[in-house]
Symmetry: C2
Subunit: 211 residues, 2 copies
Amino acid sequence: MNASTRGPGAEHEQRRRQIADAVLAVTAERGLAAVTQSNVAARAGVSAGRVQHYFPTKREMIEAAFDRGNALSAARIAARVGRAGAPRQVLTTVLTELIPHDAVTRTHLRVRQAFTALALSDEDIAERMRRDYERFHGQVTDLLARGQDAGEVPRELDCRERAVSLVALAEGLAYYVLVGIHSASEARERVLTEIAGTYAPVRGQAMPPLA
Amino acid sequence: MNASTRGPGAEHEQRRRQIADAVLAVTAERGLAAVTQSNVAARAGVSAGRVQHYFPTKREMIEAAFDRGNALSAARIAARVGRAGAPRQVLTTVLTELIPHDAVTRTHLRVRQAFTALALSDEDIAERMRRDYERFHGQVTDLLARGQDAGEVPRELDCRERAVSLVALAEGLAYYVLVGIHSASEARERVLTEIAGTYAPVRGQAMPPLA
């Protein structure tokens, strides 16, 4: 341990993270209803009082877990594409990351599902989801627009519209995978096919689908 | 009232339906967590004992509401397309029905969302969702296959794959509408565009997108 990981601020952050990880685990295993200070404390191996100190309300526990899940997902994407990934590679990684394919990504998606369900009866969380999606759809739109700039995506494509459809499709398929309606590899193939159809075909072939 | 609506069986069914409607209303307004025998009884204007008589467990209340929501949705679709609808018309109605556009369809979708979230931590409900989706995806596949038989849908289309994608997309967009990320009319337009892209274009135009 060096000085920067030993200060009280760092320790605080580390404990918050540890508890947020426990909230993620409890949500993934038993659903949001099981997220109580005592369950989370038991999972994290700390006292209920400590959980309460860091997260006085259930809402705060859930939001922390959601943030933590998103941070972990962003880190996985960054690790796979690096800083200088081509737009299409980043797009492919971001969209296929939405499809659960191992224990970690399944856990993350279960938490996301629980959280999105909560948005339907909680206006504060709904507002947060709207901001998150605005940003996320905007990022995917930008990736497609960069593909247009590079001549890889047809000029006529409405990047925003296509971005929203690609994300919605991947999310719909991700749920199927989670419930066992579809295999992860089938869902992944569907997403890859849609991405392929979004980019311009090799010269001499017909134009790709725009709709 | 005639004889067939006055027997004890009919009365039983009518009371079950009345309670199931109350479960739908409570779920739509306050989420699944608020579905208790006393809340449902208050909403239905009956005693808690009567709710308990018809639905001894919370699970049974929720399943009854889900069935009731699906039956109401099927009735709306039947009313719109009649018995002799052309496959494309039926497909369009079925898919756009997934997008909430009024109080009734919003209620139905909120219940579906709550129910699908439950499937993630309840294997019996997950099994039921798999059966339901198997049937639903099969129906949409058949509609596309009938379009192929009639020469309206390209032969090369993998009907099953396209059916799953169309439903997943509509469901993803439906969630966006419910949380206010997207307007109902935007989501509906996206679905109509995807359907249009699935059917063959008029002669002389390029082939429609297959992916």
